[in-house]
Amino acid sequence: MSSSLNHQSALAAALERALDDRDSATRVLEGELADLVGLAETLEATACDVAPRPDFRAAARQRLLVQMTRSAPAAPRVRAMHGMAMDRLRLWAARLAAGLTALSFAGAAAASASATALPGDTLYPVKQASEAVALQLASTDSARQELLLRQVDMRLDETARLLEQGRDTDVALAAARYDETVARLDVADRSPASEAVQANLRVNEVRLSQLLQTAPASARHGLERALAATERGLGRTRPTAPLPNLGVAPVATATSEQLQPDEAEHRATANIESATAGDAGERAARESHDSAGLAPRGRGVEARAEANPVDPHAGTAEVEDSPPQAPDGEPRGVAVSESHAASRANPPAATSQPSQRVAPTKPQERPAPPRTEPGPGRGRN
């Protein structure tokens, strides 16, 4: 047995030498070694004759291109900028998603129940985690923007509900979360989607102003802070136009005057840093995005002025003409095309009227934005 192994080992080494130096060795090879080297040469000789048919080469290439196009994301991704950090984030998000999926039935019920949870509620952290996962799984920038916009609306709804319930101390927390969510919206570019964000923020501006009319003193600071965040999102460090005529007395809070830009930025940063790990990672990715040469936030006024040179401050007119729901009733989510967003953000000029037209008497009844839950078909590759 041992001698057989030694023989095989020696033969393997001899074969290797013979294959490495065939020109001089094969002439003197005999027996099994010569046969094996000959077989190796036959293999090598046939290899170059095994090639795909030219028509298969072309047809398969074409099919591959078609398949790649079908599986391509809806918008170019900025992976190069996010790199490994995004990979880790997605891994984290996938793990968290898997964890949430693995919840027991009772746990799943709790997760479902968390959808209506308010800041200060036991299930509110579950709601936050679900939102963070949804953001991480957003496959495109526009989808992410839609989700953030929906979360901004949700924060405002939470603030209003807390006020209704008299939970004034929690209002500050909800307003702070509204603040940090607004800060994460990309309002710098001038795309139709960004215009939709601006329109939505103008709606929120009106709504917050109305909430301030009836808010108790203990809740006012949080609301003022949220209003300041909204104005920053609209590109105003201080109001550049009087608040729209809402049919009520003007708000005497002058939030932006009290909150200097530096201080506001400091507060926003502090709020973001206290967010979840997913939020922190997302922020890191966003900072990376900004530092890559993209324009900073806060150019909303100029952007709007360019988009609407006639009246850059006719914000409330756009409020009415830019409903948060698509004209055809299609849910505002990743499935909504950019043309829908554009139609919301850029209403026909004939319908743009001065702010006096709007005066939403019951802003709380504004239709909530349709849900944009990621559908099963949106799974990443």
């Binding site: 074969l15 046969d35 036959t42 591959l64 790649m68 991704r77």
Partner: protein, 194 residues
């Protein structure tokens, strides 16, 4: 662990294309297809001994590679090694699905023995066909060594790296692969006298 760049195991052009393909650049992946199609097809042909199957499986390899390209990471091996890993999995799945009927076909028509007398005059293409029929009966590791060494032209050191084995193990596998292949060809009536 070596501090050397793990992507240095491949040609800089391939490295650049892979980098773009990982970022979902379709044109870059199409170029990788052009550069690697012949080898992947040959890999498949010598495992299926059938042109149609080889074409189908080759196409599957590139489609699956595209689907998984974002997960690709350089680990000191050429990109082709990763493609071969995908190809190996495709073949394994195909055999698992095809075994019940294919084994019967093979038993009924293992090889055209009637043509043995004309073996010496066979064209190179027919030789490749015969060899492919014999190679697919080897163990997966033997198939891998035969393909990498004699069809792709890698040296033993590189094959050891690709297969995560020692060079001595590769030499032993190479010997057994050629011995098994010769026996298989002889069983099929194909003489390969040197």
């Amino acid at each position: 662990m070596s501090s050397a760049d793990p992507s240095a195991a491949d040609d800089p052009r391939i490295v650049a294309l892979v980098g773009r393909a990982v970022a979902r650049d379709q044109a870059a992946f199409a170029e990788l297809y052009d550069l690697h199609l012949d080898r992947v097809y040959r890999y498949m042909y010598y495992r299926t001994a059938n042109q149609t199957d080889a074409e189908d499986l080759t196409e599957q390899v590139f489609l699956q590679a595209w689907a998984a390209i974002e997960r690709f990471r350089w680990r000191g091996k050429p990109f082709l090694a990763w493609l071969y890993t995908v190809a190996h999995n495709v073949v394994v799945d195909w055999r698992r699905r095809a075994t019940p009927t294919r084994s019967l076909d093979d038993a009924d028509n293992p090889i055209d023995v009637e043509s043995t007398s004309a073996t010496q005059a066979m064209s190179q293409w027919i030789d490749a066909d015969l060899l492919a029929n014999a190679i697919k009966r080897l163990t997966p590791e033997q198939q891998q060594v035969i393909t990498l060494k004699f069809l792709d032209g890698f040296d033993t050191a590189r094959i050891a790296q690709l297969m995560d084995k020692r060079e001595g193990t590769i030499r032993a596998l190479q010997l057994r692969a050629l011995q098994s292949l010769r026996r298989e060809l002889e069983r099929q009536g194909v003489g390969l006298a040197a």
